[in-house]
Symmetry: C2
Subunit: 257 residues, 2 copies
C-alpha cells in the first residue's frame, strides 16, 4: 500500500458537495469509484460508504453542495505500484469533465489530508456591475445594486484573530469548539467584481458563506463595520447576516506544514 | 422609430445558434421576444419569424449551434423613446443568464448590422495539456495529444489574403461567391492552450471551424504547412481537414467603418 496525495479542482454546480452519500452525485464518490475501477475493485458507489470500503479517499474537509474548488487536497492509500502521473492521467481520462486531478504525488505513510491540515484559503466572488459576465456565471453571486467595498474591507478587519465564531455556524447543535482563527480576510474590488479572500485555521459549517452574507449587508449599509465585534460576541446565528449562495464560493488552497 | 445598435455576448452551449427558427431556442429569438415584451408587443417567438414580425433584430451574421460570442453586433428599430441604458438594463434583467447585452446605443437610421459589416474576428481555443481546466470546459476543444503550434503558425500564413475558400465551406450548394479575404490568422501557444485568432472580410458556413480542423491536422503532422495552397486551390471540401467542434469557437468582434 502506498499513500498518495491528490490536488483536485472541480465545478461543484451539479454535485451534492464533496462528501459521498447514498444516492447522490458527489465529488468524493466520483473519484472513489474511478480509483476503484482502476484497481479492479468495486465500481458500486454504495460500497465506498459502507462498513468496509475497498479504498477510502480522505478529503481535507467537506465542501457544501454547489461549492467549487481549485485546490482541494485528499489522501488515499492504494494497493498499487503505478506512478503518480499514471494515476492522474487515468483519473482525468475517466472522471466527468467538471472534476480534474491537478496533481498526484506519493506521500509519507503518515500523511492524512484531514488531520494534518494547518489552514485553508477560500475565495468568495460577487459581481455587482451592470452587465453580468456570461461565461463564468456559475462562479459568482450576482447582485443588482453596487456594494460599498471599502465599508466591507473595514468590517473585514474585525474578523481577524482567534474568536468563537458560533454566530457564523449553521449547525446549532455543534458540540465541539466553535473557536477558529482567521489569519487574513481581504475584500477587493476589481471593476464589477468584489472578491472576499479568507485564510484561517479551519472553518465551521457555512462559516465563509455567512461571513460573506454579513459583509454584503455591510456593503449595503444595513450593518455598520463597527457592529462586527458585537455580532461575534453574540454567539448567536441570528445576529449575523444571511448565508450567501454556494455558487460564489471556491476552496482555493489547503495548507500543510 | 429609433435605430439602436446592440453589443451582445452569449454562451452558445444550449442554443441552436443565433438565428431564430421554429421550435428551437436561439439567441436572436430570446432577445426579440424580450424586446417585444418590453414594448408590449407579441411575446410569442413564432411571430418574429412570421411574415410581419413586430420588430426585427438584425445580427451581423449567424453563429452556429454551440458557438459563443463576446462581441456579436445587432441592430433593431424600435418604436420607443427609452434611453439606451434603460433598454440594456431591461434586457439584462429578463434575458437568461447565458446572454448579456454589453451595450445599447443609438445608431443612425441607415445603420444595418449585417449590410454594413466590414470585417469580423473569431477566436478558436484548443486545450491539449494534461489537466483540463474545469471552469471553462465549455469554451475550448480538448485534445489528448500535444499539438505542434509552430507548424500550425507556419501553415496559417498561407491562408492570409484573398482566396476562393470553397474547400473551407460546408454548404456544397453555395451559389454566391466563395471568395473571402483573410487579413490575419495567428496561432499562439500559452501553456496548455493553443489559440487561433482570425480576422477577415467575412466567413463562409463553418469556415473558421474547418480552418481550425485543418490546422489541427497540421499540428499533428498529418498535413504539411506547404500543403495549404493546394488545399485552397482544390476548391473541394474533402481536400481540407474536418470541421472542428463548435464549442471552441467564439465571435470576438464585428467591425464597421
Amino acid at each position: 500500500m502506498k499513500n498518495y496525495r491528490l490536488l483536485i479542482t472541480y465545478d461543484g454546480t451539479r454535485y451534492k458537495g464533496w462528501e459521498h452519500q447514498p444516492g447522490a452525485e458527489t465529488v468524493q464518490g466520483k473519484i472513489e469509484v474511478c480509483l476503484g475501477r482502476m484497481l479492479g475493485l468495486s465500481a458500486s458507489p454504495e460500497d465506498y460508504f459502507g462498513a468496509n470500503p475497498p479504498i477510502e479517499l480522505i478529503g481535507s474537509g467537506r465542501t457544501d453542495a454547489g461549492v467549487h474548488a481549485k485546490g482541494m487536497v485528499a489522501s488515499v492509500k492504494l494497493p498499487t505500484e503505478q506512478s503518480p502521473d499514471t494515476i492522474r492521467d487515468y483519473l482525468n481520462h475517466y472522471l466527468p469533465d467538471d472534476i480534474a486531478i491537478r496533481e498526484v504525488r506519493e506521500a509519507s505513510d503518515r500523511f492524512h489530508a484531514r488531520y494534518n491540515t494547518t489552514g485553508k484559503t477560500y475565495e468568495y466572488t460577487i459581481f455587482d456591475g451592470p452587465v453580468k459576465p456570461v461565461f463564468i456565471r456559475k462562479y459568482y453571486t450576482a447582485l443588482d445594486e453596487p456594494l460599498d467595498a471599502d465599508r466591507m474591507a473595514e468590517a473585514a478587519e474585525y474578523f481577524v484573530g482567534e474568536h468563537d465564531f458560533k454566530s457564523f455556524c449553521t449547525n446549532p447543535k455543534m458540540k465541539k469548539s466553535t473557536v477558529r482563527r482567521i489569519d487574513n480576510l481581504a475584500v477587493r474590488r476589481n471593476k464589477g467584481y468584489v472578491t472576499i479572500t479568507v485564510s484561517g485555521s479551519g472553518f465551521l459549517q457555512n462559516m465563509v458563506r455567512i461571513i460573506a452574507g454579513t459583509l454584503i449587508e455591510v456593503g449595503y449599509g444595513r450593518i455598520e463595520p463597527s457592529d462586527i465585534p458585537s455580532i461575534i460576541e453574540a454567539k448567536d446565528r441570528t445576529a449575523a447576516g444571511p448565508t450567501a449562495p454556494a455558487k460564489g464560493l471556491c476552496l482555493l488552497a489547503v495548507n500543510y506544514d
